[in-house]
Symmetry: C2
Subunit: 235 residues, 2 copies
């Protein structure tokens, strides 16, 4: 099967980057000097907690497609007063919203992607927008062949068009593309469209011991992390 | 002004890659073993000659957006019988059409892009589709931050949306983005939308001595080639 797969496409938040501790750190860097002492992990969870409901407004067609930076900002404006943060200058809000552009990769990711790149085309298939993905790639030294996902499909996962548009962008059939994610639901949706699937464990995504370690759906490969998956794919 | 520009976006066919001699070579590699002896440069010119008219079908709205690989194939099917080439197997036609994925960069381009990358976000803003751009980048060792252009805008240059969608994909205003091209018409269209412009000379694009050497429109920078432009931009 490996010889048939020509491209790997990746979920990013949680799978390749540690959004939770990065957002906690970046939020603290912005808000603590202004006198706020929050539970920064809880703040990160609250911000991320608005992610699915806000995307669902787009997926359902209730609002037109808007890039994820815009949705993150809607969610930030929602949670700040609920954490007793007083109105902030626009420049501060923009910098804080761009915390999502300053996420760190899980430690093994950059080197594992370098190994995988020798054999496969690589692209994110994330709900993150192009500018966000480009900044994360620069920060973490990731060489993508293209940035695919929500901005190209103009919709959000797990809608089928996002997986299918990513395959089509590479001129590949779904069977020639493997979706890699640490989330069983993402892989189940990709498999439904005919893509191959590679699960990797992220046991600490939502905090110590709070993350998927084993796939809860049928997958083609399952690795403990991305380096392990690369080894299984003979990279 | 340089400090304001945060991203460079590039025309590709003619500006970064030598489409004419590459298409002549690749067409010969496919057709000569089948017994055809054509004027390969003229064949390349004929194929490229159908480029603007076919894209105009999309720009005008007469046909829905189709990726450039599809338009190249329409044009190939049009010119082959006009060069007395008999019907070819589908696999051969696909390989021949993919000649556009096997174009060589002008010699100074890969190193000049490495220099520019240290200071700017870089992306193609080409009418070529994502798969085509990704293959050219692999072939010529080009590290893009994203692949922008027709597939993201779902229309073809010089329509304004293609330039504007490229700026928006990087979360930048047009004034923070410089369009780089060897074609004055491309730069004039970009400038019309507020982008900065960088011209580079390609005196041999259409054959020896047949190419633009000086901009025929007002530009912010004009270089003899991409290395010269990189030097002017202090890279």
């Amino acid at each position: 099967m490996e010889t048939m797969v020509k491209a790997l496409i990746f979920d990013v938040f949680g799978t390749l980057v540690d959004w939770r501790s990065s957002i906690a750190r970046e939020s603290r860097l912005v808000l603590e000097p202004l006198g706020y002492k929050l539970d920064w992990d809880a703040f990160a969870d609250a911000w991320r907690g608005r992610y699915q409901p806000t995307m669902e407004e787009v997926r359902s067609g209730r609002i037109p497609f808007s890039k994820l930076d815009t949705l993150h900002r809607i969610n930030l404006d929602y949670i700040l007063p609920r954490h007793d943060v007083k109105p902030l200058p626009e420049e501060t809000l923009r910098h804080l919203n761009n915390a999502w552009h300053r996420l760190d990769a899980w430690p093994e990711v950059p080197e594992a992607l370098r190994r995988l790149r020798k054999k496969f085309l690589l692209a994110p298939c994330s709900n993150g927008n192009i500018a966000l993905m480009a900044d994360l790639a620069r920060r973490n030294d990731i060489w993508w062949d293209a940035i695919l996902g929500s901005d190209v499909a103009r919709d959000y996962k797990p809608k089928p068009i996002v997986y299918l548009a990513s395959c089509d962008a590479f001129n590949l059939t779904p069977g020639e593309v493997m979706m890699v994610a640490a989330h069983s639901s993402d892989l189940a949706a990709a498999a439904e469209q005919g893509l191959k699937t590679g699960f990797i464990g992220r046991p600490n995504e939502h905090g110590p011991g709070k993350g998927e370690t084993k796939p809860a759906t049928k997958v083609d490969y399952a690795g403990s992390d991305l380096a392990d998956l690369a080894t299984q794919l003979s990279c």
